[in-house]
């Protein structure tokens, strides 16, 4: 799949923190993501995900990146 601006290589990191294993920063995020849903109903989780996408989308801001991400999510089924 060809993308230009959307990062598709592993990019999870934390400035000032050293990771000795390459899977650790991604696993840190994934655990936090799943934990954030703990105790939510399916409906609440869906709403949570929507809020999360909106927050992250605004943070990214660059519409070109967002369009690529929308396209990538749609193309991967």
């Amino acid at each position: 799949m060809h993308t230009t601006l959307l990062k598709s290589d592993p990019n999870f990191h934390e400035p000032g923190r050293r990771f000795f294993r390459d899977f650790s920063p991604g696993d840190d995020f994934y655990e936090a993501l799943i934990e954030a849903h703990n105790g939510l109903s399916d409906e609440q989780s869906e709403a949570f995900n929507a809020r999360l996408i909106l927050l992250l989308a605004n943070h990214i801001g660059d519409l070109r990146v967002l369009r690529e991400a929308l396209h990538a999510a749609k193309a991967t089924v």
């Binding site: 990062k7 598709s8 294993r21 994934y30 399916d42 989780s45 995900n49 991967t76």
Partner: protein, 551 residues
Amino acid sequence: MGAYVNPIYLYKAPTDLKATPPLRKPLIVIGAGPVGLAAAVDARLQGLEVLVLDDDKTVSVGSRAVCYAKRALEVLDRLGVGQPVCDLGVSWNIGRTFLEEEEVYQFNLVPDPGHKRPGMVNLQQYHIEEMLIARALELGADIRWQHKVTAVTRHDDHATLTVETPDGTFDIEADWLVVADGARSPIRRHLGLDIEGRVFQDRFLIADVIMKADYPAERWFWFDPPFHPNQSVLLHKQSNNVWRIDFQLGWDADPEEEKKPEKVIPRLQAMLGDDRPFELEWVSIYTFQCRRMTDFRHGRVLFVGDAAHQVSPFGARGANSGFQDTDDLMWKLALVMQGQAPDKLLDTYAQDRQFAADENIMNSTRSTDFITPKSRTSKTFRNQVLALAKHYPFARKLVNSGRLSVPSFLTASLLNTPDAEAFEGQMVPGAPMDDAPVQVNGREGWLLDQVGKGFACLLFADAGPSAEVLAQLQALQTGKLPVTPLIVAPRALSVPGVQVIVDAQGWMAKRYDGKAGTTYLLRPDQHVAARWRQLSAAQVQQAVAHATCNA
């Protein structure tokens, strides 16, 4: 092809152990599983007298722990059984993860060349135990079978054990007691000590199958394969044509029913997809917990291995971390028992291995949550990571079918001397040493085989040392805690009284950021204790004192 036959070890009546008042032994190990045996072998290598008590009379029934990771193999090398384990076992580095029938992710445990040992060796637990028993006996360990410890009383300077044998019950005392009696740890329960964590509601079926198959020596993991829909399956090759197949069954599965051959055989036939002949060697249904004791040390009683901590099997972090426990413990225990370090050095065993246990529990819990999602949302995220993994490298990195056992970087260890100068690379104080190919006395060898007997000091050099440097290196060999000096040079040098390691290919210089003058102090368990850009015997000695709680 044929199934493994368990050896029977002879019971010896405890006439020499029974006495009134009870005998006092310097060191007793409870449990002759892989970790207890490693403790016994290490004790002998450290010059300690050791008595091992086990309630059984044979090795593991069934293959049980089959994956031995690179760091555990390096520990086993130091104990003297690494080579037979690797010779009989199946070495592998590649793991493949499939979604349905398509490969979505592949990992290589040791992508860099220049290590003596592979990422993993698969070998049935009973073989490892047989090798460790032979080694312990060869070194003079006293192993007593059918000696069941039924009670332990803790005292300030010893422990009293009550031992049940076919010839009756007797008491015996130990200055130090190492408890390696496994996950259910009767001794831990008897002493009423806490172990807390998380129970997972899922059941798994292990089938050890004897068959001729030409699958490669790799770890294969399936999410939702057509032959076992909606669940996961794991395939491992073991020695002697034995294959480990692990099926996720779900919490509702009936363990007694699922163990029956008429249930197991159709699952295997569906997986193998042909009518090749196979035999079942061992079948087991397991559940698991991720938990650890609050404190691995209780005065003179030290807990190791599964008795102290348990993880899910995804990641092979059980037996592997147990070997790292005894690797950390035994040199410290020897120094304390021999009066060369204060008692509080053993608190650092508990601190460092509790830190490592937390890391192992964290990683194996994460794998378990990925493999068996607990909610609809969690399952959706998991499945979409797998979908994205077909196209995007970042998602492949998130695929978690098990983060396989790697040693902890003990960066918070109180025994480290913090860096005062800048270094590249990963060999920070507290790091488990990276191996490297080297030459010693004109022969090819490996770095890790040159260290691990007491403290060692590596000095990188590009020419023979000056008289002043040589005097400093020689000074390290004397003193209360002698340090073995080693010079690392790009080519052979002749230095009187100091072993020279030739780093002809430059792996050590690269991995240790070694430049002329760079000095490393290495612990007996092959972890970095301290490093400097210039040798100073006084600094090295101070760091040794710090690493043994003598300063």
